[in-house]
Symmetry: C2
DNA sequence: TTGTATGCGTTATCAA
DNA sequence: TTGATAACGCATACAA
């Protein structure tokens, strides 16, 4: 941002050649240099507040020491904790994080992905995957190092770190059944995402396991993981005459939409209808009522994904793992036994 | 991240010299090149999916086309909207945003700032300023291009974009007075920040303007803009025997802490005590009770700051402006007339 | 232990 | 209109 001192200037000040200065300042090679010289160079570097030019270094080493992160939208409170986990791990290894928001726009995503490649990121962490994505599968085949977080791509060996979607929903449904509910609805998320699909399937399976026959009208799908789309799907269900006593939302944003519709219809939660969300986003514990939801360890998901990427950067031939982090059911005040 | 095609390869494929390829692909110089050649080069570039190497370009042009953003903590919902504003504007001009979290740790901040400089960012947007900061004032004097958001540095000509802290608090206090309150407390934010200080002063001034004498016991200060520190300060006030009928919190996080203490003491808000926050963070409209607060246009603050930085990058001699964006009072359900 | 030469991919400058 | 050459700042193979 301002004419920074170069290695040459440091070398001059220390009275040595650039090469020596480079060696002295580089931990990997500093053992080759005379301790006295070493001190002189370090002193010079300190005095000039020398910072190696990352672009020059990267050009030479063919590494940028940076990692791109593709998110749908940073303002969705789900993602900041993931990003923090990623950043903390990456920063500890000297990597810088480049964040990009796709807004669920595939074209924008392509542009941003290209930008990241232009910046020569050493790897990418992707939170925007669709089940049938080919932008990423192609890139993966071309050798682009990547890790998926939160969502996965179908039938691919791209490594991923996700929460346990299936188990999370299973716990939620079982909890409702134990409370005595049988008319349990699911407001599913978009089926082109692994999260939307897996959770929907887990819902069906959990009902089946309990011997409850699925009423197809109780299964509706939101077009996006948002409050408005969640509300829209929920509203449609009620308008079709369906009367569940409990709703399992595919995520907390959709659950927010459910609550909106409950309010519209003057239904009190949990007295008239129970609700369970998914993710345990920040602040859902302060809703009215405090939301029962499936807690997913987002910070850890981010941290684990970063570690995995780092591993793969160090050792490209590592087999692709898929890590699933355990989910836990957090009971608050949005669930209760059905009214008699 | 994987061996990308270079300009040389594009040139070879198009049967021209690298220089020509460079010119053809660069909008600024493409007018100098023969239309037919141009097409050949572009075709080659497209076929190879050529992406210019940003590091090589940056090394040559001494511009990285990137901007650093220094935040206290991304998981504070205040910041994602600011970041989105910044990113949207910056991306439209081809800049990439580098986000760094300082966690309010001065040493960490210094390290991150150095990292950003090492990455040769063309400018920095800073949301972590302290009133007496000298890391930034020094850097500013050295010619580092920067813009402060949300907070400013005292007595400096560093450009800034902030919400109208003074007016926001004035509106909040006046509103409470109009409702009939006279024992109005303020849980101030850290006084080493411009926001904490300005809001505290605005509170005093507003009382003064209304002819209400300040009870010093009703003015307490939180050590940080967090829920726990807000609760701590609020608790101390009650334990000192003070009984306000209304509280103006320095921000929404602190307001959350106030609500916690109200609950501890079985005080109902707004029946027993009124509360006003500051910022209108996401989700405060869904608290119990929905929080009355001062709305600050965070997205616009970010966008405006990015525009300002862009202006200054283009024209370094621009005078340093300080923009204040208007705040508005958002009345929800946390304020009411005092109990009789 | 230190220095020399070279090149990473791009663009600026100059020459043709 | 195009090509040749050098240079950005750094790291590395090689030589001394």
């Amino acid at each position: 941002m301002t004419n920074s001192p170069t290695l040459k200037e440091v070398a001059q000040r220390a009275g040595v050649h650039v090469t020596t200065a480079s060696r002295a300042l580089n931990p990997a090679t500093s053992s080759l240099v005379n301790p006295a010289t070493m001190r002189r160079v370090q002193a010079a570097a300190r005095e000039l507040r020398y910072q190696p030019n990352a672009m020059a270094r990267g050009l030479k080493t063919a590494k940028s020491m940076s990692v791109g992160v593709l998110l749908p939208d940073l303002t969705n409170p789900l993602f900041p904790p993931i990003v923090r986990g990623i950043e903390d791990v990456l920063a500890a290894s000297g990597y810088t994080t480049l964040i990009a928001n796709t807004d669920n726009d595939l074209e924008r995503q392509r542009t941003l992905f290209d930008t990241l490649r232009a910046r020569q990121v050493d790897g990418v962490i992707i939170a925007t995957a669709r089940r049938d994505d080919n932008l990423f599968t192609e890139a993966h085949q071309q050798g682009v190092r990547m890790v998926m977080v939160n969502r996965r791509v179908d039938q691919s060996d791209i490594p991923s770190v996700t929460g346990d979607d299936h188990d999370g929903i299973a716990m939620a449904v079982r909890h409702l059944i134990e409370l005595g509910h049988t008319r349990i609805a699911h407001v599913a998320g978009p089926q082109h995402t692994s999260t939307g699909r897996t959770r929907q399937r887990a819902y069906r399976q959990a009902l089946d396991d309990a011997g409850i026959e699925l009423d197809p009208g109780l299964l509706v799908t939101a077009n996006e993981f948002t409050e408005v789309e969640g509300a829209k799907a929920t509203r449609a269900m009620f308008e079709a005459g369906k009367r569940p006593t409990a709703v399992v939302a595919a995520n907390d944003m959709i659950a927010l939409g459910c609550l909106d519709v409950f309010n519209e219809r003057r239904m009190r939660c949990p007295d008239d209808i129970s609700l369970v969300g998914f993710n345990d986003m920040p602040f859902v514990d302060r809703l009215t009522p405090p939301l029962s939801t499936v807690h997913v360890p987002h910070y850890q998901i981010g941290a684990e994904a970063a570690r995995m990427l780092l591993d793969r950067l160090a050792n490209p031939d590592l087999p692709a793992k898929s890590i699933t982090l355990p989910a836990t059911l957090v009971l608050r005040e949005s669930t209760a036994a059905p009214a008699v």
